[in-house]
C-alpha cells in the first residue's frame, strides 16, 4: 500500500498482485521542504554555520597573513651616507668601502672610482643573482664568484650570465657644512671633482640600475633586465 501511494496510481501495486481499486486515494500533499526556494531550519542553520566559520577563519587569517607579509613588502629607505673626505679616494683608483646596509652579513659595498675628474659608485651586488662581485685592480674589472659574471671597469657586462650592468649608487660632493659642491649629472659622466677641496665630503645615496649605454633606470632586482622584452616581466 505504501508503494502504491508513492506513484499515485490507483489500484496498482508494484508486485502486480492486486489490480483492483485503491482502498484509499491519498490527497496530494504540499510540503514546504520539497520547494527548493523554501528556507528550512536545516538550510538556515547550515548557512549560519558556514558564514560564522568563514568570518572566524578570516578573523584569524587576515591579521596573520598581514603580520607575516606586510612589513616584508616595504621598500628599503635610502639616505645619503657620508663616506669620508675626497682625499680618501685617490685619483685614478677604485676604492672599496662598506656601505651601511641594514645587516653586516649582506656584505654590501660600493666601489668608488675616482677617474677622469669624476666620481662614480658601483654597487657590488651582481646583476645576475645578487652575489658580491670583487674588484681586481690589475685588470680593472669586476668578477662574480658564483656564476662567472664579468664586468668591465664601468660595470658593463663582458661575460657570463648577468642581464644588465652593475647597479650604481647616487653620489655627490658636499662641503663640511653640508652644502652641495657637485652632483652626478649622468651615470656616464659621474660626479665632477673639478675644483673640489680635498676635505670635501663624499656622500653616497639611493642606488639605481643602468642599461648598457649607462642610461639610468629605477633600481631593479638581480636577474631583471632593464631593456628589451624581458623588462616587461615585472610590471609593478
Amino acid at each position: 500500500m505504501a508503494e502504491s501511494q508513492g506513484d499515485g496510481t490507483a489500484g496498482g501495486t508494484r508486485g502486480g498482485q492486486y489490480s483492483g481499486p485503491a482502498a484509499h486515494a491519498p490527497e496530494p500533499v504540499h510540503d514546504h521542504h520539497d520547494d527548493p526556494a523554501f528556507i528550512t531550519r536545516t538550510k538556515f542553520l547550515t548557512g549560519v554555520a558556514v558564514v560564522t566559520g568563514g568570518v572566524m577563519t578570516a578573523a584569524i587569517l587576515v591579521p596573520v597573513v598581514g603580520f607575516a607579509a606586510a612589513d616584508a613588502l616595504k621598500e628599503e629607505p635610502w639616505q645619503w651616507v657620508d663616506c669620508g673626505p675626497l682625499s680618501d679616494f685617490p685619483d685614478g683608483k677604485t676604492t672599496s668601502i662598506a656601505v651601511s646596509g641594514p645587516y653586516p652579513e649582506s656584505d654590501r659595498r660600493a666601489f668608488v672610482r675616482n677617474g677622469d675628474g669624476a666620481l662614480t659608485a658601483i654597487w657590488n651586488r651582481c646583476a645576475h643573482l645578487g652575489c658580491p662581485v670583487s674588484y681586481s685592480a690589475g685588470s680593472d674589472a669586476y668578477a662574480c664568484p658564483c656564476h662567472g659574471g664579468a664586468y668591465d671597469s664601468s660595470g658593463r657586462v663582458v661575460g657570463g650570465p648577468p642581464p644588465r650592468p652593475l647597479d650604481r649608487f647616487d653620489i655627490k660632493l658636499v662641503t663640511a657644512a653640508g652644502k652641495d659642491i657637485a652632483r652626478q649629472e649622468s651615470p656616464a659622466a659621474g660626479c665632477s671633482t673639478s675644483g673640489a677641496p680635498a676635505d670635501a665630503r663624499v656622500l653616497i645615496g639611493r642606488p639605481f640600475s643602468v642599461d648598457k649605454d649607462l642610461k639610468p633606470y629605477a633600481l631593479h632586482g638581480p636577474g631583471e633586465s632593464v631593456t628589451g622584452v624581458l623588462s616587461h616581466l615585472y610590471p609593478f
Binding site: 616584508a72 621598500e75 646596509g101
Partner: protein, 275 residues
C-alpha cells in the same frame, strides 16, 4: 579463533586483549588498522613499491632529529653558526644527530625523486590515482622547500650566498616573483628576520603541511590500492586478449568499436504497463 581455543589463556594475554577490546569497541581502531595494513596487493608488487615508505620513514627521521636539534640550535645571526659548532663538536652524539639530519635531507630528495620515477614509469598515476599523484607533487614541492629553508640555518658563507641566489631566482619569476622573494626574506635584504623566518618555515609551517599531505597521500594509497605494474602477468593477459579481440573484430571487417549491438535483454515491465 575458536578452533585454536585449547584452554584457559595466560592472564597477561587476557588483560592485553581486554584492553585492546576496550579501545576497539570505543574507537574501531583495530578495524581501521586492518583496513589500512592488511590490503590485497598485486602479485608482482616488489621492492620498487617500497620507495614511498622509505621517503616517509626518512621524513620521520628528519622530524625526530630536527626536534632534538631545535633544543640546541639558536636562530640568531650572532649565535646560529656557533650553536651548530657546539652541536657538532661538544654535545654528546651531536655530530651523529646533525649528520643524520643533514644526510637524511639529501637522501630524502634522492628517494622522493626515485619514488616519483617509479610511479611515472609504472604508469601508477593513471585513473583512478591522479589525486595521489597531485598530493605527491605537492609533497615534492614542500620537500624541496624544506631543503631550501634548512640550508640557510647553518648560516655560514656557503649557506648565506646559496640562499641569496636561490631567493633571487625566486624573485626572477614574472610579475609576483619580487613579492614572493620579499616575503621570503622579510624585506629587501637577508638579515636576522630572514633567519628566524626560515627557521619558523622550516620547523613549523612546512612540517605541518607535509604531515597533512602524507596523511592524505597514505589514505588515497590505502583506499585505491597499489597499481598493477606494467609487466604484471594478469595485466599482460588482459592486454593480449584485448589485442586478440581487436584483431578478431578486424577480421570480421567491422570497424573496431562499432561492433553490432547485441540483442537487448528483456526489461522488467513497469507496474503502470500492466492492467
Amino acid at each position: 579463533m575458536a578452533t585454536t581455543n585449547i584452554g584457559p589463556k595466560n592472564p597477561a594475554v587476557k588483560a592485553g586483549e581486554a584492553a585492546l577490546d576496550y579501545v576497539d569497541q570505543r574507537t574501531g581502531v583495530t578495524t581501521g588498522a586492518k583496513w589500512f595494513l592488511f590490503r590485497n596487493i598485486p602479485a608482482e608488487t616488489s621492492w620498487f613499491q617500497t620507495l614511498g615508505f622509505t621517503a616517509m620513514a626518512l621524513f620521520g627521521m628528519q622530524a625526530i632529529t630536527g626536534i632534538i636539534l631545535a633544543m640546541y640550535y639558536k636562530p640568531d645571526p650572532n649565535s646560529a653558526y656557533q650553536s651548530i659548532d657546539t652541536i657538532t663538536n661538544d654535545v654528546t652524539w651531536g655530530f651523529l644527530v646533525r649528520g643524520m639530519h643533514k644526510w637524511g635531507a639529501s637522501a630524502m630528495i634522492v628517494i622522493v625523486f626515485l619514488h616519483m620515477g617509479r610511479v611515472f614509469f609504472f604508469g601508477s598515476y593513471k585513473y583512478p590515482r591522479e589525486l595521489t599523484w597531485v598530493t605527491g607533487a605537492i609533497l615534492l614541492i614542500m620537500t624541496m622547500f624544506m631543503g631550501l629553508t634548512g640550508y640557510l640555518l647553518v648560516w655560514d658563507q656557503k649557506a648565506y650566498w646559496a640562499t641569496v641566489v636561490a631567493v633571487n631566482i625566486t624573485a626572477s619569476a614574472p610579475i609576483i616573483g619580487p613579492y614572493i622573494a620579499d616575503i621570503l626574506r622579510a624585506g629587501p635584504e637577508f638579515g636576522p628576520q630572514t633567519l628566524s623566518r626560515f627557521y619558523s618555515i622550516h620547523m613549523l609551517v612546512i612540517p605541518g603541511g607535509m604531515a597533512t599531505f602524507i596523511g592524505l597521500h597514505m589514505f588515497l594509497v590505502a583506499k585505491l590500492g597499489i597499481a598493477e605494474p606494467p609487466y604484471s602477468k594478469r595485466r599482460m593477459a588482459v592486454e593480449r586478449s584485448e589485442e586478440e579481440a581487436r584483431r578478431a573484430a578486424e577480421n570480421e571487417r567491422l570497424p573496431y568499436g562499432r561492433r553490432e549491438v547485441p540483442a537487448s535483454t528483456p526489461q522488467p515491465v513497469k507496474a503502470e504497463g500492466r492492467s
